[in-house]
């Protein structure tokens, strides 16, 4: 039962990460970031958030590989 419980926990985390990504790249947040001073703030935000999501995915996927 244990590996199953762990993989379902991983799936829950992935679901949450997917939702997080949807939120991070949805208009309300982007509009807020776009209003920040500096011409590159939105682009910087997009790349950093993107890299963050990829990093979390890698951590989730590789972290639970042993099971």
């Amino acid at each position: 039962m244990k590996p199953f419980a762990q993989s379902s926990r991983r799936n829950e985390r992935l679901m949450a990460l997917t939702l997080l990504m949807v939120v991070l790249f949805s208009p309300p947040l982007l509009t807020a970031v776009d209003r920040l001073p500096g011409w590159a703030s939105l682009t910087l935000y997009l790349f950093i958030a993107w890299a963050g999501v990829i990093g979390l995915t890698a951590w989730l996927m590789e972290g639970s590989k042993g099971h």
């Binding site: 208009p27 509009t31 939105l42 790349f47 890698a58 590789e62």
Partner: protein, 911 residues
Amino acid sequence: MRTDLVILGAAFSYLALLFVVAAWGDRRAEQGKSIIGSPSVYALSIAVYCTAWTFYGSVGRAAEYGPSFLLIYLGPTLAMLTAPFLLRKMVRIAARQRITSIADFISARYGKSSGLGALVALMALITITPYIALQLKAITVSHAVLINYPDSPDASLANEGFWLDKSLWVALVLAVFIILFGTRHLDASERHEGMVAAIALESLVKLVAFMSVGVFVVFVLFAGPQDLFQQVALSPDLADTLRLDQVPGGTTGWVGMLILAFLAFLTLPRQFQVLVVENVDEHHLTRASWLFPIYLLLINLFVVPIALAGLLLGDVAGDPDSFVLTLPLSAGAEGLPLFVFIGGLSAATGMVIVETIALSTMVSNQLIMPLLLRFRFLHASQPGQLAGWLLGIRRVAIVLLLLLGYLYHALMGDAYSLVTIGLVSFAGVAQFAPALLIGLYWRGASRLGAMLGLIAGFGVWGYTLLLPGFAQSGWWDMALIEQGPWGIEWLKPYALFGLQGWDIYTHALLWSMLANVGLLVGASLFSRPTPLEQTQAALFTEAMHPNLQGTTLWRGQTTQGELRDLLARYLGAAATQRVFADIAESQDAADQIASHALVTSAEQALAGSLGSASARVLINSVVRGEALDLEGLLSILDTTSQTLEYNRRLEQKSDELARIGEELRSANERLRELDRLKDEFVAMVSHELRTPLTSIRAFAEILRDGDNLPEHKRQHFLGVIVHESQRLSRLIEEILDLARLESGRLTLDPKPLDLAQVAQRSVDAISRLQENRGIALDSAIDVEPAIIIGDEDRLEQVIINLLDNAGKFADTDQPKVRLRLYRHKRHYRLSVEDNGKGISEDERERVFEKFHQIQEQGEVPRGRPKGSGLGLPISRGIVAHLGGRLWVEDAPNLGGACLIMELPEAPEQAQ
């Protein structure tokens, strides 16, 4: 350096390298040492997603529409996040059913419908051909830019004959490549190892080429990112380039594009090919789910710097779609532009190769094959002939597809910029998404629903994107876009039903998806699916069910001989031999009934080569009886829940058993303890009885033998005998009492009496004895009369016992005993205390056990025990019978032990 000869030499050398790599990959696969069996190669092959459109078009889009270019890559990142659920399910289904393309997948899901398969194949053909054209155009344009810079590339493009167009020759070389490495096996569900290896290499080349331009622009053209960004900050024109309002359609356009990219990534035929069909191991998805997004991130890292640099430089840079080439050219670099051209070439060829393989498989398996199967003469053809035909059909299809792409590019390619064609294709293939995704999770989705949804969605797509595109190319009247058909305002293709202000892709996506999903769901709810549809639907939606592993679904019957003939006719001898590998060929075997597993693997082999719909038609022609129906399938699926239920019950039972076992064990332990107590009791009793008996016998023997004993000795011995006999009879009396008490046969005679009198009488009875022993007995009777209900003799026995005990355990030098009778609430209490050592806390209950003798701590027991050890248990039994209690406390006055007997006051009327 930039002569045509050098450029063409480099380009065709690069293509030759692809041939070598692909041939090497196939060789290794034949030797069983696959080079593509790694998640990294898998991730790189998925990167075929990044076409020439990414390579050249991203910069153009960033220059024009700000950050919206990123959406094309955020969508796939989102899709890869769902890989462990969604893609894994698709991969597993495709592997189990030997799916060869997305058309085959959708056709198989909806009851192996050949109509649906043909529809999807046709739609893919219409949608993807412009996309292939786009790649060829990119090759032509980039070549022209490279040759003509700093002049505009249009000059040479306009007056060039088609035989001079380099992309035609590239297309022809690609056709040879694809025929060589894409149609090696008839079985299209088998992996094209060489091709995948070449694609992975192409992905690496385009990534390195693009990043080289980025590094060149940032660090050579400018003095690092800070320099570039400072210059951008100084030019007010550029300050708003990267704002959200640059995105077409604003925030709505943003969301629409994200959804579009997400759906297209899953439904593009080439993505389906590399993600699902060419997948070696579904565990590779785990690594690819983050490795591929990293690839996307890297290839986009320099898009913004390159776009900004190009805008800063102005005219030298030319068209934004060509910045990647013109920026190094403007700086006079020689080698880099060539490398960039090769990078663009690899992006374009990679896409063309995979897309063409996917499309040619669809054309042969979904469009041509079902038609061919209608002709009688095929069934009578030579064994293996059809296999040759089928490969021939695929090869012709490949050449035709590439030519079609080239024609499209040559005839109307100029109408759109690169990105436009790509997005129109995206919106087109996204129409497959509802049938695909809803079909994966909703068992009720039916063939009719999928068919209507696809037709409607595709129709709306054609009306809102394709037709206006034709109009813009000058093939249609522009009035269609500006005034609507026949002047009907609300039918304007870019503002359907008056929906204005949206970008055209989100607009088209909304209406087409509404029609598509609406009809799919609506028609599914009101149509009755065939049994095969239901079975396939269950097989797809329950694909991850552990029970489906290795289940054979055929229940019909046929002979091995018929099956062998069928396979040999359509697949050839070699493929037949693989299916029948474990079965010896003989006349006997030919007449034997084919096992269900054999029928299933025969159908799979046919499906891998001809598509699932055709395979089903062929199998049905020889197998009598149907495949497993829905009910049978559901029963297989339910077995697990039954097993789980059994398991749960078993677990309950074993829990119960364990509990009962535990109870038995403790009961057994209690019995053993009782047994031990009984043994102990018997041993005690015998011991207690033997002691006085021994002394009686000893003295009696002395009296018998000693004739000349002096008189006083004789008297003394007789006295001892009498005393011991009394002790013996008292002991026996006590044991009998105890036995009666324990068996509940003790007869008491309860009646109202005055406890004070009884206590006084007891004190009187024992005082002489105590005085003789030197014990100071003191009594304090506070209440008189103390009327209770009790048995006078028994109570006297109890009180005497208590006083006697107290005397025995009182201090040896100055023994003192004190009796007190007092009232406590509605009870009378009689306490007897002494000035002995007292009884320790944990001994207090044990003194009421049978034969318990208090061992004074640290003291060697002196002489004979002071009593039988039965007095207190008997006393407690009697008191309890009379409704009272007997317990031990600390003595309040004398400091020793204090035994307290409490009896309830008699009711009023009894007094």
